[in-house]
C-alpha cells in the first residue's frame, strides 16, 4: 500500500537496546550471542527453560522481561525455535572481515538452500541488502521452526531480521 499514512512502526533498535534481553556492544563484538527482542511484560517463559547455559532469566513473576546473562551465552541458538514470539535472534559480528552472521526463525515455504543468495529484510520486511544463506537448520527438536543463518554485510547486523518469502499461493 502506498500513500501518506504510514503504517505503525515496528520496534526500534533504540527501544530494544534498553531492554534486558539485548546484549551490550562489548558482548556483541566478541562473537555469537543471543539477541532477545521481547519488549513487553507478557506472561511467557519457554526461552528461560530452553537455554542449556541458564543464560536467560525471567523468574517470578512470569511477566518479567527476559534478561540475557550475556557472559553465559555462547550463541548456540537453541533458544531461537523455543520462543513462541519468534523474538530471539543470534548475531555474530566476528563472522568474517566484512560480514556478520544473523540467525533467525523462518516458518515459511519454500525454505532457501544452503549457499543461496537471498534478499535480506529488516523489521518491516523491507529489503536491505543481499545475504548468503550459510545454513538452514531444521532438526526434529525445533518442531517445525527452521532457523536460517545468513551472512550479511556487517553494518546490517542489527537490522536484518529475515528474508523475503512467505507469499506463496497454493
Amino acid at each position: 500500500m502506498n500513500g501518506e499514512i504510514a503504517p505503525t512502526k515496528a520496534i526500534t533498535l533504540e527501544e530494544l537496546r534498553n531492554t534486558p534481553g539485548f546484549p551490550s556492544e562489548k558482548r556483541l563484538s566478541l562473537g555469537r550471542v543471543a539477541v532477545i527482542e521481547c519488549p513487553e511484560e507478557i506472561p511467557c517463559n519457554p526461552c528461560e527453560f530452553a537455554c542449556p547455559k541458564e543464560a536467560i532469566k525471567i523468574g517470578q513473576p512470569i511477566t518479567n522481561l527476559p534478561q540475557l546473562i550475556e557472559e553465559r551465552c555462547d550463541g548456540c541458538g537453541i533458544c531461537i525455535p523455543s520462543c513462541p514470539g519468534l523474538a530471539i535472534f543470534v548475531v555474530d559480528l566476528t563472522y568474517s572481515k566484512t560480514q556478520a552472521l544473523v540467525e533467525f526463525p523462518h516458518e515459511f515455504l519454500p525454505l532457501p538452500k544452503d549457499g543461496q543468495e537471498v534478499d535480506a529484510t529488516d523489521r518491516h520486511g523491507k529489503v536491505l541488502t543481499k545475504g548468503e544463506v550459510v545454513k538452514v537448520r531444521n532438526p526434529k527438536g525445533y518442531n517445525s521452526t527452521p532457523v536460517i543463518s545468513l551472512a550479511v554485510p556487517r553494518r546490517y547486523a542489527n537490522e536484518v531480521r529475515g528474508i523475503l518469502g512467505g507469499v506463496r499461493i497454493g
Binding site: 516458518e107 515459511f108 515455504l109 525454505l111 517445525s144 527452521p146 499461493i169 497454493g170
Partner: protein, 102 residues
C-alpha cells in the same frame, strides 16, 4: 484453493477424492471434508441468496452458527454446508430464499 504444502502442517493429507455436483457442474472433493471447504477449493463463493433482495451469502463462521452457508443438498434446503461432510455423488445447489423450488 487447496494448501498443498505447509511449513508447519506438511503436505496435505491424502484423502479419498469423490465427485459432487454443484448447480449442474461436477467438481472434485475430498470425502468427509465440509461441503463448504470443497466449494471454496473450487472457487465457488456464493452459497445462497436471501429471501427478498436476492443478496449473495457465503461462508462466514464455519462452525454452524450463522446459517449464511445454507444450500440445498440432495433436494433438502437449509443444509449448513460448513458442518456437513461431503459424500460421493452429492447434488448441491445454490439456495434461493428459503429453498422453495423455483
Amino acid at each position: 484453493m487447496r494448501i498443498k504444502s505447509h511449513p508447519i502442517l506438511g503436505d496435505i493429507p491424502k484423502r479419498k477424492l469423490v465427485k459432487i455436483e454443484v448447480d449442474g457442474r461436477t467438481i472434485e472433493a475430498f470425502e468427509g471434508e465440509p461441503i463448504a471447504a470443497a466449494l471454496l477449493a473450487a472457487g465457488i463463493k456464493v452459497f445462497r441468496r436471501t429471501v427478498k433482495r436476492r443478496e449473495p451469502r457465503g461462508l462466514f463462521c464455519t462452525i454452524g452458527q450463522c446459517t449464511d452457508c445454507m444450500m440445498t443438498v440432495n433436494g433438502m434446503p437449509n443444509v449448513r454446508t460448513c458442518i456437513t461432510p461431503v459424500e460421493e455423488g452429492m447434488e448441491i445447489s445454490t439456495q434461493i430464499g428459503r429453498g422453495e423450488r423455483s
